[in-house]
């Protein structure tokens, strides 16, 4: 209970699904052998942290930011460029992470203090513009970032695919550096998630929710809203930076497409809203569902597309084309905004309440 900061997931169905997802993630290398499955699992882990830190802003504080992926990119580039420039050691990793965190903090402070004084809508636009400029900057400063091509780099030896922890196999799986990296990512994400859970259940987290519900009243009660909002922005930026660092470590590559593209920002928005705003557990469900859909829904859609094409229906084959999977998640997103603002978590909770 203490580990979960006194805020365990409520409702049987929610608990059952969460346990399933977490078990699947913990045992992924053994349950689902193969490179693709492990990639999906690692991406899910990274996304859980990214989405949870975004939920701190969107769901708990009621601020829309479009710069979250920028902080993700800062983390990814920080670690990536440090490992590229300083060589593949743990020291370089730590240096990169610290520099990235410092840059993220400075950017978050600047954006927050500059634009959170005014309406939240203003913050949304300013973050969008800044994130866009950052993206352009990263792809143009090619002497530093490798431009559009990005940078491939080596990771510390223990995490390299060639490394073997033990000779032979454990449950039929060779324990190599890739699997060690996966568990490294998983453990860091789990720890960071618990820290975020602690933050939202602290008195500070309560104030954030008060600000979300009614900023004027929160201010009248004596809380400095600009301070709280800016601090929330900074904490969430640090979470995103860490997620970016883990993502770079897993991919052993950093580039604009994997670290800074605006489509990642849209993905994160979809995950938060579909999973459930204002509940960190929603991040786990949203990220798992989204990454799973991204990786496996396309196959199903391809089959459906061929089926409708064989039946020579107009337009439908194009709509079910595997590349159009985001279309259907877009529909789910809009419906969730209207009818289920608390997402899957909220729906599961409501079922539980009815049953009682």
């Amino acid at each position: 209970m203490n580990l979960l900061s006194g805020d365990p997931p409520r409702g049987r169905a929610l608990q059952a699904i969460l346990v399933l997802v977490i078990l699947a993630l913990v045992l992924a290398p053994f349950l689902f052998p193969g490179a693709k499955a492990l990639n999906v699992a690692a991406k899910t882990c990274v996304m859980i942290l990214l989405v949870a830190s975004y939920d701190l802003l969107l769901g708990y504080t009621g601020i829309v930011s479009f710069a979250h992926v920028m902080f993700f990119g800062v983390g990814a580039y920080g670690v990536g460029l440090a490992l590229y420039g300083l060589g593949a050691g743990w020291g370089a990793l730590v240096v990169g992470l610290i520099c990235a965190a410092a840059l993220s903090l400075a950017l978050a402070l600047a954006i927050g203090l500059f634009s959170l004084r005014v309406q939240s809508i203003f913050f949304a636009m300013v973050t969008l513009a800044v994130a866009y400029a950052f993206n352009v900057l990263a792809s143009q400063l090619s002497w530093l970032t490798g431009g559009e091509d990005g940078r491939s780099f080596k990771v510390p030896e223990v995490l390299q695919p060639g490394f073997r922890l033990v000779e032979g196999r454990v449950f039929g799986v060779a324990i190599n550096g890739k699997i060690l990296t996966y568990y490294f990512v998983l453990v860091v994400v789990a720890a960071a998630f618990l820290v975020l859970l602690r933050v939202v259940n602290s008195p500070f987290g309560r104030v954030l929710q008060a600000i979300r519900e009614n900023p004027f009243r929160a201010e009248a009660l004596g809380y400095r809203t600009v301070f709280h909002r800016t601090l929330a922005t900074c904490i969430s930026a640090l979470g995103a930076t860490l997620a970016g660092a883990l993502s770079a470590l897993w991919l052993r590559y950093v580039g604009p497409d994997t670290a800074l593209s605006f489509s990642i920002q849209v993905d994160v928005l979809v995950m938060v809203v579909v999973g459930g705003m204002g509940s960190l557990y929603g991040a786990i469900l949203g990220a798992a569902l989204f990454v799973f859909a991204e990786s496996y829904l396309q196959d199903a859609m391809g089959a459906l597309s061929r089926l409708t094409a064989d039946a020579s229906l107009p337009l439908l084959p194009a709509l079910f084309h595997p590349d159009r999977w985001l279309l259907w998640l877009g529909f789910a997103f809009v419906l969730a905004v209207y009818f289920a603002p608390t997402g899957i978590v909220g729906a599961l909770k409501a079922d539980e309440a009815k049953a009682n």
């Binding site: 939240s120 194009a318 590349d323 877009g330 997103f333």
Partner: protein
């Protein structure tokens, strides 16, 4: 002294012209650094034309925000839709654009942008009814819903028109440039400037000189009062939304022609620019966005010539500088 006299005795504030002079100031400051007069003229003319193109797109966004308090993150989808709609006219009538006759060229161009505006207006109505109407007055949900709408719209565009770039040729008369001495001014940029000025004049006239504009402005001030007088404010606002979408489409079509190709990413790219422009101009102010568009385009052009690396972030720097001077933009709209 009666209340009426007191009102009459209030000093009339002259128009605030200082912000309107900023583009001129920027041009004057940049001129000595550029040095050559012909380069300066070329850059300035190009900047003005680009400013007009941006203004056409951004004014739709600021109009909708100023009138309806809706920040439409789906505006980019209309910019892209307008670009694709233009191909519906220009590709089948390619022989008209390829002919030497000015009349046919102009006809196909006007037809293309009018069709783009009409299609975007119609889809603006659909978008307003389906996406925006349920979330009036809730900013957070508006942002989310309109983003969701733009995801769907972009994917539908890909599904209907295919994911590849569509090349688009300018009508023949508008290719090439006029040359004055050493300075070259592209013909199409002149045309774009004219269209932008017409749009600006039209908006100012409708808003300030017609009964509909009066009702819209009154509806913004006090919606319930206007409704109590028997006017259907909601219909008026739908019309504003359609007009805003149509302007986005018009600008998108013209920008696609200028670039010579159409792709759905044009939407997201110019949405960011539109936001910067309407923040600089003051949210909801048409005049402000007009000045801001020119300012942003001029700065981008000069910076691109003088310090290409700086040009990448010149828009953001311009925004920060303006907001430090006037925190609510060049021409803040009261009550927003």
């Amino acid at each position: 002294m009666s209340a009426l006299d007191a009102g009459a005795a209030l000093p009339r504030r002259g128009p605030d012209i200082l912000p309107a002079l900023t583009p001129l100031a920027v041009a004057l400051i940049a001129a000595p650094f550029i040095g050559s007069l012909s380069t300066f003229v070329t850059l300035t003319a190009a900047g003005l034309a680009m400013g007009m193109l941006i203004f056409t797109m951004a004014s739709g966004l600021t109009l909708v925000f100023g009138m309806m308090d809706v920040l439409n993150f789906g505006h980019g989808a209309f910019i892209a839709l307008g670009a694709y709609a233009a191909t519906l006219v220009l590709l089948p009538l390619a022989s008209w654009s390829a002919s030497d006759s000015l009349g046919l060229n102009l006809a196909v161009f006007v037809l293309a942008i009018v069709v783009a505006a009409l299609i975007c207006g119609v889809f603006g109505w659909v978008f307003e009814r389906l996406i925006v109407k349920p979330v009036y007055g809730q900013h957070l949900k508006q942002i989310l819903a309109t983003i969701g709408g733009s995801i769907i719209a972009e994917q539908l565009l890909y599904a209907v028109f295919g994911p590849a770039q569509i090349p688009l040729a300018l009508p023949k008369t508008f290719e090439g440039s006029f040359v004055f001495g050493q300075a070259a001014i592209e013909k199409y940029r002149l045309l774009a400037t004219c269209i932008g000025l017409i749009v600006f004049a039209g908006e100012m006239l409708v808003l300030n000189r017609t009964r509909i504009g009066l009702l819209i402005r009154a509806g913004v001030e006090n919606r319930e009062m206007v409704e109590a007088l028997g006017y259907r404010v909601d219909r008026l606002f739908v019309a504003v939304f359609m007009a805003g979408s149509a302007l986005g489409g018009l600008g998108g079509a013209m920008m696609a022609l200028y670039r010579g190709q159409v792709h759905a990413t044009i939407g997201g790219e110019f949405l960011v620019l539109c936001f910067i422009v309407i923040i600089i101009g003051g949210l909801g102010s048409v005049g402000g966005s007009f000045v801001a568009s020119i300012l942003v385009a001029l700065i981008a052009n000069y910076a691109g010539f003088l310090a290409p690396k700086l040009a990448l972030v010149s828009n953001i720097l311009a925004m920060v500088a303006v907001l430090l001077w006037r925190p609510r933009g060049l021409y803040p709209v009261s009550g927003r």
